[in-house]
């Protein structure tokens, strides 16, 4: 693997002034910001601005839009903390951004999602038959073919949160329930619940696609 070019502050200054920062890996810019040799505060600011400009759209695309302000509050907070961590010589996240910039952002956004879900505690009640108390199963919820599944991303995005996550895990190959990793344990619900969520998702998608007779 080719080692990344080692750039001096003068190199970075020239790149910043000629608009060449886009040619550099963000990890290199993080390392430059954290370098003791970087004493030019204005230059460090330019590098940080560029990194923030990379981080924001990356996070926006992945943020759950049901979060406050469409997820933008979380995005702004993560980006702000990222910038502080990068210039803090003792911040572990600063090291992390220098090792894998986008992966660290992904981790921090996942943390925010989890915290938000804990706050929300959104658990969809299972539909239950009033007479028998049995959990109701959606009718005729056969699985989608790979071709059908490949064309329904917009429909998937519109599913209720729990149904979407269950369906995505199902599509990623996770079993509903098993002794190993399964959707039920990953979502922290009973296997029947996970199964019902997937079937409801599939039934909804098939209905929207007009596949049910």
């Amino acid at each position: 693997m080719t080692e990344p070019a080692i750039r001096s502050p003068e190199d970075w200054k020239e790149l910043a002034e000629t608009g060449g920062l886009g040619t550099c890996e963000p990890e290199q810019m993080v390392a430059a910001c954290r370098d003791e040799a970087m004493r030019d505060g204005r230059l460090r600011g330019l590098l940080l601005d560029h990194l923030c400009g990379l981080a924001r759209p990356y996070l926006i695309r992945r943020a759950n839009k049901d979060m406050p302000n469409g997820g933008l509050d979380a995005v702004d907070d993560i980006v702000s903390k990222m910038a502080l961590a990068i210039v803090d010589p003792v911040a572990k996240d600063g090291v992390g951004f220098g090792a894998a910039f986008y992966t660290k952002l992904q981790q921090r956004l996942a943390d925010r999602h989890r915290a938000w879900r804990v706050q929300q505690r959104r658990i969809e009640p299972m539909p239950v038959d009033d007479e028998t108390g049995e959990i109701l199963e959606p009718p005729d919820a056969a699985g989608l073919t790979p071709e059908e599944a490949a064309t329904v991303d917009d429909l998937i995005a519109g599913l209720p949160d729990n149904h979407r996550r269950a369906f995505l895990l199902h599509r990623a190959g996770f079993p509903v329930s098993s002794k190993g990793e399964c959707i039920a344990t990953m979502l922290g619900v009973q296997p029947k619940t996970a199964d019902a969520w997937i079937k409801k998702a599939v039934a909804h998608l098939r209905e929207q696609l007009g596949l049910d007779r």
Binding site: E17, R61, K92, A100, Q107, R164, A172
Partner: protein, 185 residues
């Protein structure tokens, strides 16, 4: 184990989750059973975030997949929105006057006079190729709200300002004006 170790492990899990499979999750849960719930929860979030992003995680430096040429009538505002930003934020990110970006959106700047530096930096920021962005900038642009109330008869193309005029008339300082009017080597 301390919370700090959990964070390290979860970070490494995120790095390893390319791709994310049941076997991978099982492997990590087996290695760190005390963090099983955290690992599984992050696995779910990774799957969800990747779906929301609409693409495989990893190569964020490459431009997003786009058609060979933009759909006729695509505006700079639409491109910015697709990139998760706005005209205003695009201008601020690039360090250029908002009025110039706005004028590019409404196609009131001579396309041929737009500096290659702007096209390059904006395309990098928006995650599209320079050729693709150039095509957008050469398009008809977004219709001005006031035009419908002023026009008599068929609308035509009014006089467009050159890039130099737009930069000169903007509120940027002399240094920024020089930066944006310089020709790239």
């Amino acid at each position: 184990m301390s919370t700090e170790d959990l964070d390290d492990i979860i970070f490494r899990f995120h790095q390893a989750a390319e791709p994310l499979t049941p076997e991978l999750v099982g492997d990590w849960v087996g290695r760190y059973p005390q963090f099983a719930d955290d690992i599984r929860a992050h696995a779910v979030e990774i799957v969800d975030m990747r779906f929301l992003a609409g693409q495989d995680a990893g190569d964020e430096a490459a431009p997003a997949d786009e058609p060979a040429t933009p759909v006729a009538g695509t505006t700079l505002r639409a491109v910015a929105k697709a990139a998760g930003t706005s005209l205003r934020d695009l201008a601020d990110d690039l360090g250029i006057a908002r009025s110039i970006v706005s004028d590019l959106n409404t196609a009131t700047i001579e396309t041929a006079s737009v500096r290659g530096r702007f096209v390059r930096l904006a395309s990098e920021r928006l995650g599209v190729t320079m050729e693709w962005l150039s095509t957008v900038l050469a398009g008809p642009g977004e219709a001005s709200v006031g035009a419908a109330f002023k026009a008599e008869g068929m609308p035509g193309v009014g006089r467009r300002r050159t890039w130099e005029e737009a930069v000169r008339d903007s509120d940027m300082d002399a240094g920024r004006k020089a930066f944006w009017t310089a020709e790239e080597r």
